[in-house]
């Protein structure tokens, strides 16, 4: 089988993984090495695929042969699909060839479980070692740690990669038991704990010795599948929050479940992937990470799912009239961030601009405030924006109308100020 054919099979098998970013790496250019991973390319998209997703990394599987039988997965043992495997040399050649032509920022290597988790991880380590040591590749590498792999091998993987990830996939243990019978919660969490501990250790060592080996310097991430099980948004977001806090994850990715198989326990093949729901989760995730929100403020037992018509920040604002209006000339940064239509960038600009004098409503659009949302929630020098009259009832309707048209939903990129 030639490389073109292998590439086709192993890309097709890898495409459902949502993670594709090169953020958090910091390898400056080194003599005799190819490439760099500086903060200046964080979030650098090399292309956008026809589904509107950012293409940053060569995202492929080492092999799509798998001894497991996860019900939701195209690569499961019982699925009749063409199988292939890269040799370490083929993979290294492809990565370097693509990187030199500026097609990609690096490699995202995942794999089906071939023979055993350890055997598969050893294959991946061989490929990455070849790439780093023989081909002198200094670009970004994201590698998947397979649940059940021996800690020594995870250790080696972490010394070669910039970022590691262990995919949780199903947000609850019950889901796991039914749909991924070969995986256990403990097998998933063990490597996550190991990665967290080693990552912190290596950061401490780096402070003491400049040349201490770096273990997954860009941290770890994971992916949750949305819509394969009946878990609520509240459940998913609480899990996310715990992952950020307890496991120090850099990112949680959400992947709207695309029905690839008929199975009694899964949504039928005719069910469309819940893209809008996925989008709302990304927006809420953003609120947790950059806007000082907590899950419990956004959702609770009585409202376990997001209003699909409105972004989570607007929903929160509509439910908390007592917080508004916010006066842009006096409010602190945290309060500004709670106003729909004001993002991190525009909040900073407001802080800077108001030092030169009192802000008037007409200045706000030039500071990047999205007035069609923000106008209902703020005052500038005590004044509401020109000619604005609305009732609490009308508010919801107007905000829904101000939402972006449906086809534009997408995974938020690093540079989206979620205004």
């Amino acid at each position: 089988m030639d490389v073109l054919e292998k590439l086709t099979i192993l890309t097709d098998a890898a495409k459902y993984d949502a993670a594709c970013t090169s953020s958090g790496g910091n390898r400056t250019a080194k003599k005799g090495m190819i490439g760099n991973t500086s903060s200046s390319v964080a979030g650098c998209c090399h292309s956008f695929s026809a589904d509107g997703r950012c293409v940053t990394l060569l995202k492929v599987l080492m092999t799509n042969r798998c001894i497991y039988d996860c019900k939701y997965c195209v690569n499961r043992r019982s699925n009749d699909t063409p199988r292939a495997a890269f040799t370490p040399e083929e993979l290294a050649d492809l990565t370097i060839g693509f990187y030199r032509r500026n097609y990609i920022e690096g490699l995202f290597l995942s794999s089906g479980v071939f023979r055993s988790p350890d055997y598969t991880t050893e294959l991946m380590i061989r490929a990455l070692r070849l790439l780093r040591e023989e081909y002198r590749f200094n670009g970004y590498i994201h590698a998947k740690a397979i649940p059940g792999t021996a800690p020594e091998l995870v250790e080696q993987l972490g010394l070669l990669a910039d970022r590691l990830s262990v995919n949780i996939e199903l947000p609850s243990e019950a889901g796991l038991r039914i749909l991924a019978p070969d995986k256990t919660k403990e097998a998933i969490l063990a490597p996550m704990r190991q990665i967290r501990t080693r990552n912190l250790q290596s950061k401490e060592e780096l402070i003491k010795y400049r040349h201490a080996p770096r273990f997954a310097p860009a941290g770890q991430s994971t992916q949750l599948i949305v819509g394969a099980t009946s878990d609520s948004d509240f459940h998913i977001l609480r899990l996310t929050q715990a992952l950020y806090q307890q496991y120090r994850l850099k990112r949680v990715f959400y992947s709207a479940y695309v029905p690839v198989v008929e199975h009694a326990l899964l949504p039928a093949k005719t069910v469309k992937p819940p893209l809008l729901r996925e989008h709302r989760l990304y927006q809420a995730d953003w609120l947790l990470r950059f806007y000082g929100f907590r899950t419990e403020e956004l959702l609770d037992e009585h409202h376990p799912d997001f209003d699909i018509r409105l972004d989570p920040k607007c929903s929160w604002a509509v439910a908390h009239p007592e917080f508004f209006p916010v006066e842009v000339n006096t409010a602190d940064y945290e309060a500004l961030l709670r106003v729909p239509g004001i993002g991190v960038t525009s909040a900073r600009r407001i802080l800077s601009a108001r030092r030169t004098g009192s802000l008037r409503p007409e200045q706000l659009p030039r500071l990047g405030v999205v007035m069609k949302r923000a106008q209902y929630f703020l005052t500038a020098s005590g004044k509401l924006p020109e000619g604005l009259r609305f009732t609490q009832d009308g508010l919801l309707r107007r905000l829904i109308a101000a939402e972006r048209p449906a086809p534009d939903f997408q995974q938020l990129s690093l540079f989206d100020a979620m205004a």
Partner: protein
């Protein structure tokens, strides 16, 4: 006051001399142009001579008032902002008259258009860090772009670090300039025209592999061409490998059948009209 149009040589130094001369003559120009033909016939013109000493004096003065303003002006000079010289001129004169306080307010009416243009420039440069495509041509990497703004100075550092041990060039067809890098040295030079040569077999093969990857990675059930176009406007497509037609994937002096570039089960990318694609160089400047 008479209407006066300044004519300068189109360099940043030349622009600084326009500022210098306007203070020397105690007049405010109506417009600042670098192309005589674009001057309306009825206006008086003053030819501004570029004097290194004058330029330096103005520049030092600006830096003293605000280093931020100085870097903003340098960047604004690279943008495609209409009447950018006059906008920059107003910024300088406001700075010299009032001091740097107004620079903290991004909504200031003199600052805002300049800031917006600079953000556009920086945004375009950021996108192009990803969208530039290089071809391996002998022992040189070569690429071509058609940006709206003069982004080469902003891309220089990034690509020189990425290809530190290599030789490469990047041609800006819009502004007819080339960034050339070899053994640790980079320069940007005007280059009027230039044709790329055909790829060899290895190069053609990598192009094909990339297109196949691109067409395969998209998920059919999530197909969303509008979102793609918002993220990656069509004007960038003409120099990107994934949107070229079949000839782009055919190696030089080969009439062997090449596999169809598209992916059998993927979403084949639309082609941009042929004749637009980057082709490889006949000679290096």
């Amino acid at each position: 006051m008479t209407e006066m149009i300044y004519l300068y040589d189109g360099s940043f130094q030349g622009f600084l001399c326009c500022v210098f001369d306007s203070y020397a003559y105690k007049e405010v120009p109506t417009a600042i142009c670098c192309d005589e033909d674009s001057v309306p016939a009825l206006f008086d013109t003053r030819g501004i001579v570029t004097d290194q000493g004058h330029a330096e004096r103005v520049y030092r003065k600006i830096v003293k008032c605000s280093p931020y303003a100085a870097s903003l002006l340098q960047k604004c000079f690279l943008t495609c902002l209409p009447q950018r010289e006059m906008r920059m001129y107003h910024l300088v004169s406001k700075l010299l008259k009032q001091g740097s306080g107004f620079l903290r307010d991004p909504s200031d009416e003199t600052l805002y258009p300049v800031l917006r243009a600079v953000r556009h420039l920086e945004g375009e440069a950021h996108l192009l860090k990803g969208f530039v495509r290089f071809s391996q041509l002998g022992d040189v990497l070569g690429g071509e772009i058609r940006p709206k703004n003069r982004v080469l100075p902003l891309l220089r550092h990034h690509f020189c670090a990425r290809y530190a041990g290599d030789r490469f060039f990047l041609y800006d067809r819009t502004h007819r300039e080339v960034l050339f890098y070899t053994s640790g040295q980079a320069c940007i030079r005007p280059l009027d025209d230039f044709q790329m040569a055909q790829p060899d077999a290895t190069e053609a093969h990598y192009r094909l592999l990339w297109k196949r990857f691109y067409d395969t990675i998209a998920i059919r059930e999530r197909y969303n061409p509008r979102c793609r176009q918002t993220q990656m406007p069509k004007r960038y497509w003409s120099t990107m490998t994934e949107f070229q037609d079949a000839t782009y994937f055919t190696p030089q002096s080969s009439c062997a059948a090449v596999p169809d570039p598209g992916a059998p089960a993927g979403i084949s990318a639309p082609e941009t009209p042929s004749g637009f694609g980057p082709s490889a160089p006949a000679s290096i400047p």
